[in-house]
């Protein structure tokens, strides 16, 4: 597959450095590489990708509910495409380390993971919740598959329309 030279090089570099912690690496097509890393080595990987491989930003972090595990996909982008790093954590006690030490711009995406999926981000500095409203219950996570619309506000209390003058 010599048409994916750049992707192959990326793959080799990562496997060289992280060996067994990386699994399931695929070159989906040109400019797209996907792999999984163990959650404990996430920050080290992010550091390596920034300083050693030149990826300058995490464009976004997608949270995914995969049943037994909750996944967080970190999409790193640079001029050469998107590399997606998957980190999985068990649903019963979801934890992930913060990467804001390496990529400060990732803060809002990590807050979103915490609010919408209930994944605790260790090391994230305390702050206002995002994106859910202040009066949303703190133990409900909308983007999990077992959450239904209507779970949050069971008795809909909205003021009835009063007579218009």
């Amino acid at each position: 597959m010599s048409e994916f030279e750049k992707e192959e090089k990326l793959k080799a570099q990562l496997e060289d450095k992280f060996g067994g912690a990386i699994s399931d690496m695929i070159i989906q097509r040109k400019d797209r590489v996907w792999f999984e890393i163990k959650a404990e080595q996430l920050v080290e990987l992010m550091n390596f990708m920034k300083t050693g491989m030149g990826f300058n930003r995490v464009s976004t972090i997608t949270g995914v509910d995969e049943g037994e595990k909750l996944g967080a996909f970190y999409h790193l982008t640079d001029e050469n495409g998107i590399v997606t790093v998957r980190a999985k954590t068990p649903r019963t006690d979801p934890h992930l380390p913060t990467i804001t030490g390496v990529f400060p711009g990732a803060e809002p995406y990590e807050r979103e993971l915490a609010d919408m999926f209930g994944i605790k981000i260790d090391g994230l500095k305390p702050g206002r919740r995002y994106p859910l409203p202040d009066d949303f219950p703190t133990d409900q996570y909308p983007l999990r598959k077992d959450w239904k619309v209507g779970d949050a506000y069971p008795e809909e209390k909205t003021s009835p329309a009063t007579e218009a003058k």
Binding site: L132, P133, D134, D135, F136, P142, V149, G150, A152, Y153, T158, S159, A161, T162, E163, A164, K165
Partner: protein, 146 residues
């Protein structure tokens, strides 16, 4: 009606002042409301002015399905307006929730929070429709005051 009251009514009808509030909209209706001020549609020749504080406004123009975070703030702004005050719901989202009807973070439609005087449908509502709605509202006021 006394002369003083007639004068006040005339000035209210001939020069309504609007306050625009975005209650979680996608911006489509908002840019059409602002567009109504620009040279092609020019609301200001009808005496309509877009104000920035509720204390000066006659009509509250709301766009967007009301997100839950905005409900309190919307009510507060409505309370700060002096009577008589009217509410104009612009766009499909403000009328009934539009595309977002049923979403968990949205109270579909302004009329669940405030009494609405006129609904202007459209996604987004065209500036001509907004203008037409404002004129119809004024016409109804004039008729009801007689």
């Amino acid at each position: 009606m006394k002369i003083k009251d007639k004068l006040i009514l005339w000035s209210r009808l001939k020069s309504p002042w609007l306050l625009h509030f975005n209650s979680g909209a996608c911006n489509g209706c908002d840019i059409e409301v602002v567009d109504a001020l620009t040279p092609r549609y020019d609301l200001e020749r009808f005496g309509v002015v877009l104000k920035s504080t509720p204390r000066h406004a006659d009509i509250l123009v709301i766009s967007g399905p009301v997100t839950r975070q905005q409900v309190k703030r919307l009510k507060r702004i409505y309370d700060q307006m002096p009577a008589p005050k009217f509410v104009m719901a612009v766009g499909a989202c403000a009328c009934s929730g539009g595309v977002f009807d049923g979403c968990y973070s949205v109270v579909s439609g302004v009329d669940k929070v405030l009494p609405v005087s006129i609904y202007i449908p459209g996604c987004p509502a065209r500036p001509e429709a907004i203008l037409d709605g404002a004129v119809k509202l004024l016409g109804a006021l004039e008729a009801s005051s007689k």
